[in-house]
């Protein structure tokens, strides 16, 4: 009986209002247009409500197209000590995601991966105070 209550409680403990309720991503990006992009980071806009990664993607003909990839709010990363200097312009990233419905070079980045296969951000499981950079 106890177990049943706990099991039922587990599912219902999850708060309804999670991230996904904020913003209907599927109205901005197309589930029928999955893509993988590999390119060089030229800019990371650390802005809200979503950050945007600008990726220069080389085409077979040698030209380059700039893609804008939507990611998450940077505020939690900043809380964990990530700054604009943490992610280097020039980094090679592979991004798996979905293309925008407006047919521009935009996508949402489901996964951000470095060349060695590591994920771009690894959130820490505890929240130590970030070591701030001393002001010059």
């Amino acid at each position: 009986m106890q177990r049943a209550i706990v099991a039922a409680g587990v599912g219902l403990l999850l708060m309804a209002g999670t991230l996904r309720a904020h913003h209907a991503f599927s109205s901005e990006f197309d589930v029928n247009k999955p893509l993988t992009l590999k390119g060089t980071l030229v800019k990371w806009e650390m802005i809200n409500p979503h950050s945007w990664f600008h990726l220069e993607v080389k085409q077979p003909d040698g030209t380059a197209i700039e893609w804008m990839i939507e990611g998450g709010s940077p505020n939690s990363l900043i809380r964990q000590g990530v700054t604009k200097n943490s992610i280097q312009v020039g980094m090679e990233l592979t991004i798996e995601g979905y293309a925008a419905k407006d047919a521009t070079n935009k996508a949402v980045g489901r996964n951000f991966v470095l060349p060695d296969g590591k994920r771009l951000f690894v959130g820490s499981t505890s929240t130590p105070d970030p070591a701030p950079a001393p002001a010059k």
Partner: protein
């Protein structure tokens, strides 16, 4: 490549949670059946709240109300508190749900992996709260019944939403958070935002400022009197006035404009909040909703806060809101394509 950040689930809960037991200060609240409330951590030593230089209780710093506890008690749960063990099991499962693999190629998959941004609750401080609901009064952990007017207003609002059309028809049809007008949980009352649910409190001699992280809403609460706004003046966050009752900050808010209703409230809602620092890392937060136009009785919830990490980076939402333009542009393009396809089909017939 789709491997989830499962390591976060094995985290020792003690690393990120702060124990919050039954608040000793809730007025009129019962713990339900005869089971004793969990032991209060302050039972053996009383916490002495530090003072600001002005001699007021010091609530300053960064706090979060991030929690897994729902507002209302789940239907199949009768008791008011889980055991420690039940809580740990439930939180692990909830964290797993947040980090779970989504089925590739599904609508649920069309989203950035927010665990990579530290946005899932298990990766930041959250409150260890054994309650089965935030609502402590009524004792069944649920909101009181709606009045007839409350039911009608809910029906009218739903009808208005249908009349307005699809959310992608125009920006005004989108949720207020998506429009960067206000995050619904900013209230008051202040409810967990789901992520970035942080607050910064700064106190001066005559004001308490509570900065809500998302969309940088600063609640500036004057202490000790001052004329209320006239009834004709209404604001999204209402009009708040505060005073101290012993070591508890009491904030009363009226004059809502009704554009961010709280669980169906009217613009005549009156919110009374009570904040008490019960421990170095715990800010007890209790709110009472008094809205006879909507509910048959006032109701009270406790949503305690625990220490969070500063600083709070600027949440300039409207300024970076590419998403609204992208969504509208995409919808217009899809309509054009659908219209062209229909015209082509017609022409072919």
């Amino acid at each position: 490549m789709r491997h989830r950040f499962i390591a976060s689930l094995g985290l020792p809960l003690a690393a990120v949670v702060v124990a919050v037991m039954a608040s000793p200060r809730v007025a009129g609240q019962t713990a339900g059946p005869a089971k004793p409330a969990p032991a209060k951590p302050a039972a053996t030593k009383k916490y002495t709240v530090p003072r600001t230089p002005d001699g007021q209780p010091d609530f300053q710093g960064f706090w979060t109300n991030s929690t897994y506890v729902p507002l209302e008690r789940p239907d199949n749960v009768q008791k008011a508190f889980y055991t420690d063990q039940e809580f740990e099991v439930a939180v692990k499962a909830a964290a797993a749900r947040e980090a779970e693999q989504t089925e590739p190629g599904t609508v649920a998959d069309v989203h950035y992996d927010f665990s990579q941004f530290g946005l899932d609750r298990s990766q930041s401080a959250f409150v260890k709260n054994l309650r089965t609901s935030l609502i402590v009064d009524p004792p069944n952990g649920k909101m009181p019944p709606l009045t007839a007017e409350g039911q009608k207003r809910a029906a009218d609002r739903a009808a208005e939403r249908r009349r307005m059309g699809a959310t992608t028809d125009a920006v005004q049809n989108m949720p207020i958070g998506t429009r960067c007008l206000i995050m619904a949980g900013s209230g008051p009352p202040m409810m967990s935002a789901g992520y970035n649910s942080n607050y910064q409190i700064v106190q001066s001699a005559n004001y308490v400022m509570i900065l809500v992280e998302m969309i940088h809403d600063a609640r500036i609460i004057p202490l000790g009197g001052g004329a209320p706004l006239p009834d004709s003046m209404r604001q999204w966050m209402g009009d708040s006035r505060g005073h101290w009752e012993g070591d508890t900050l009491v904030i009363e808010t009226t004059n809502f404009n009704g554009k961010n209703p709280f669980r169906g409230s009217s613009d005549r809602m009156r919110v009374t909040e009570r904040l008490t620092r019960t421990d170095a890392n715990v800010l007890s937060y209790q709110f009472t909703i008094d809205d006879p136009a909507t509910w048959t009785a006032p109701w009270t919830a406790e949503a305690p806060m625990t220490r969070s990490v500063g600083p709070i980076f600027e949440h300039a939402c409207h300024e970076g809101n590419y998403g609204v333009a992208n969504t509208l542009a995409g919808a217009r393009l899809e309509e054009k394509k659908a219209a062209a396809a229909a015209a082509a089909k017609k022409g072919a017939n």
